[in-house]
């Protein structure tokens, strides 16, 4: 099962290594991880995607909370149940001729992706969506054109509506 864990942690040296270390120490997977300071520069927000059994996820949450540098931890719900997830994807494509360029352009329009850099032979696209949408975008693109490089940011998440994760 897939679990998304949101963490508010002290923005201090070594804090992230404690979080990451905990996962390897206890044998949990990290599928993706993002971290950056929040509007309060003393805190960082970290979103981790992991897979495992339900009780395993619970144990991870408890262990994370035990870290002295961790301020808040919560499990992010699936979108249908009240969670929002987004991921940024950058894709570099080889576009040697006009027909491919046109096809890429129209596909980008359909997916609401933007062309953020181009020269005669290389397009770079930017796409934002959920993990599943990102997968779909990359897969569809790959069917019409040769993909040269893909970068995914890993997901960030937030709860819908009036649920806040604040100090």
């Amino acid at each position: 099962m897939r679990h998304v864990i949101s963490i508010l942690l002290e923005n201090e040296a070594g804090a992230l290594s404690r979080v990451v270390g905990l996962f390897s120490q206890r044998g949990y997977n990290i599928d993706s991880l993002t971290v950056a300071p929040t509007d309060d520069p003393t805190l960082s927000r970290c979103t981790i995607l992991t897979t495992g059994e339900k009780d395993e996820a619970e144990q991870i949450t408890k262990q994370l909370h035990k870290l002295v540098c961790v301020f808040r931890v919560s499990a992010l719900l699936e979108e249908a149940e009240g969670g929002l997830e987004r991921e940024l994807v950058l894709v570099k494509l080889y576009t040697p001729n006009r027909s491919i360029r046109d096809e890429v352009k129209s596909l980008a329009d359909i997916f609401h992706a933007r062309i953020i850099d181009l020269n005669a032979e290389i397009f770079t696209l930017e796409f934002v969506g959920s993990s599943a949408e990102s997968d779909n975008f990359i897969e569809t693109l790959g069917k019409i054109v040769e993909i040269q490089e893909v970068v995914r940011s890993g997901l960030v998440g937030i709860a819908k509506g009036s649920h806040f994760m604040k100090p």
Partner: protein, 570 residues
């Protein structure tokens, strides 16, 4: 306004925190701290002979006194030598602050002489750690370190101090101590959830086959009085984990002995057949539960622990209660009083009838070899000669289990042993630390010929600081516990467990300036034990030749339930 160098602030902070004993070993990166330490009239420095021993001594001091143990070592090898000791303290939740020297901040990351990433190396085995960036971080971090080490689920905290932070030429205004350390990301729960306590209290009062399981958390929290109250109120049978021994008096009729792999038959049977386990400050580790799928099939589990992550980690709790053991048990007593809950007399009478039948197996009886002294006899002799009142440290192996089973502890903080990590070499320095912390108590070490050689160098420390503990080596010329497993589960193949090249321990003791005796005959055992104990102001070693083939029994069968046990050699 007091202007001080980082080194002076470090010493002053320790003084302000009430530290009177500092275990340490000097080196290049901590020269300035050692220089500042000379001026301290309040702190006594105990110079160990190896950093592992230094930190174990701080651990033993902490276990025996309940205070935070403090040690100071240099960078690089000084800090890596403490790793085993830090891990030992971490596994057993012992409050300890380890101050390590570090190369100067401009050199960090350059592979400088005696540089090692101490914070990185110790990260998985500390409650928290700090790397100071400037002199003013030192008082702040050390105060936080003490607070973290001693509160919540206790544990070791490392404070890494780069050399340029303690430079004598740079002085700063010393920030005076304020009352309380506040950390927004750290707020341990002390008080249990009242609704949960009420629900659990009802279960306890209504249970037909209840059992009280006490772990190290109750030891650390000091919950003996509350436990006694509850046991007597409901006439509960009591068992303890290795770390819980002594919290409840072992000579009380309610006590069933230790549980688990080498627990007593009656304790494990009682657990297995119980319908309610009230677990206080334990973490259900694999040496306690045996096969989790077969663990206490009929029991509801009420689990009190200050660490939420210890609850439902291995054994699922029906009623989890996060909180400090002593505080939560006080809440229980309130609820019992309010609700007027009393002993379930009929049910408990039948339950005790059953338990007393299990007791009849007399699982701790052992046969005495005609010529050779049995290890159990040694523990019993020392128990008798000390009237069960000594603080007892052990190393790890057969002698550790024999001590747990045959020395009956009636008071908390009297049994010091590496339970979680199982560190050979722990006992001797820990016993020294305990004696320093409790100079008026008799402190005894049971060790093995294998374990003792893992920190034997501390004999020199004991002489320098005149630490008169009594050491009993259960000398069977083998790594007894490993050999036991080889005999029982590896077709009797003896692989690298013979210790036929042991030194003459009496001669070693004498070389280090101590008194020592060798015992080979049963008839000499008791007299020699008494003679050693009578030499109040000296460290004495008694090296006792004992039966190599003795086995620690009873023993749970691997993969079985709590009650599946080997009771004897057949």
């Amino acid at each position: 306004m007091t202007m001080m160098s980082g080194a002076q602030m470090l010493v002053r902070t320790l003084e302000d925190l009430g530290v009177d004993t500092l275990f340490g070993y000097p080196g290049g990166a901590v020269l300035d701290i050692y220089d500042a330490l000379l001026a301290s009239k309040k702190i006594k420095h105990i110079l160990g002979r190896h950093e592992q021993g230094v930190a174990h001594a701080a651990d033993g001091y902490a276990r025996a006194t309940g205070k935070v143990g403090v040690c100071l070592v240099t960078s690089g090898p000084g800090s890596t030598n403490t790793v085993t000791s830090i891990a030992t303290a971490y596994m057993d939740s012992i409050p300890m602050v380890v101050i390590t020297g570090q190369v100067g901040t401009p050199l960090i990351g350059s592979d400088a002489f005696q540089e090692v990433d101490t914070v990185g190396i110790t990260r998985p085995i500390v409650k928290h750690s700090y790397l100071c960036q400037n002199a003013l971080d030192i008082p702040k971090y050390i105060r936080q370190a003490f607070y973290l080490a001693a509160t919540g689920r206790p544990g070791p905290v490392v404070v890494d101090v780069p050399k340029d932070c303690v430079r004598p030429s740079q002085k700063f205004e010393y920030p005076e101590m304020t009352d309380k350390v506040r950390m927004r990301s750290y707020n341990p729960t002390r008080l249990g959830h009242r609704g949960q306590v009420k629900r659990a209290a009802k279960l306890i009062a209504e249970a037909n086959h209840p059992v009280l399981l006490i772990g190290g958390g109750a030891q650390l929290s000091g919950a003996s009085v509350e436990i006694k109250n509850i046991v007597e109120r409901f006439n509960l049978p009591v068992t303890e984990t290795l770390m819980g021994l002594g919290v409840f008096p072992e000579n009380d009729r309610h006590f069933l002995g230790m549980l688990g792999m080498h627990g007593t038959y009656e304790a494990n049977q009682t657990m297995d057949k119980s319908d309610l386990v009230l677990a206080v400050g334990c973490r259900f580790d694999d040496r306690v539960t045996n096969n989790l799928n077969k663990f206490c099939p009929a029991a509801k589990i009420v689990h009190i622990d200050i660490d939420p992550a210890s609850i439902s980690k291995t054994v699922n709790a029906d009623i989890p209660i996060v909180g400090d053991a002593k505080t939560v048990l006080e809440q229980f007593i309130e609820v019992f009083d309010e609700a007027g809950y009393k002993e379930n007399v009929e049910a408990l009478k039948a339950w005790w009838g059953q338990i007393n039948k299990w007791r009849e197996s007399n699982c701790l009886k052992y046969e005495k070899n005609k010529d050779l002294i049995e290890p159990q006899e040694i523990i019993e002799a020392v128990y008798e000669a000390t009237q069960g009142k000594a603080i007892v440290a052990t190393d790890v192996g057969q002698h550790q289990m024999f001590t747990a089973l045959y020395y009956r502890f009636d008071e908390p903080r009297h049994f010091l042993t590496s339970g979680g990590l199982g560190t050979m070499g722990y006992g001797f320095p820990a016993a020294l630390g305990a004696k320093i912390g409790c100079p008026d108590k008799e402190v005894v070490l049971f060790t093995g010929d294998g374990s003792f050689q893992m920190n034997i160098q501390e004999l020199s420390t004991a002489l320098e600081f005149n630490i008169p503990i009594k050491i009993f080596i259960l000398d069977n010329c083998t790594l007894g516990m490993v050999r036991q497993w080889q005999k029982m589960f590896y077709n009797g193949n003896i692989s690298s467990t013979n210790l036929n090249f042991n030194p003459d321990f009496v001669a070693v003791a004498k070389a280090y300036g101590h008194e020592a005796f060798r015992v080979e005959k049963r008839s000499e055992l008791m007299d020699t034990v008494k003679k050693a104990l009578s030499m109040k102001d000296r460290l004495v070693i008694v090296d006792i030749a004992c039966n190599t083939d003795a086995k620690v029994l009873p023993m749970q069968q691997m993969g079985g339930s709590m009650s599946d046990m080997f009771l004897n050699e057949e």
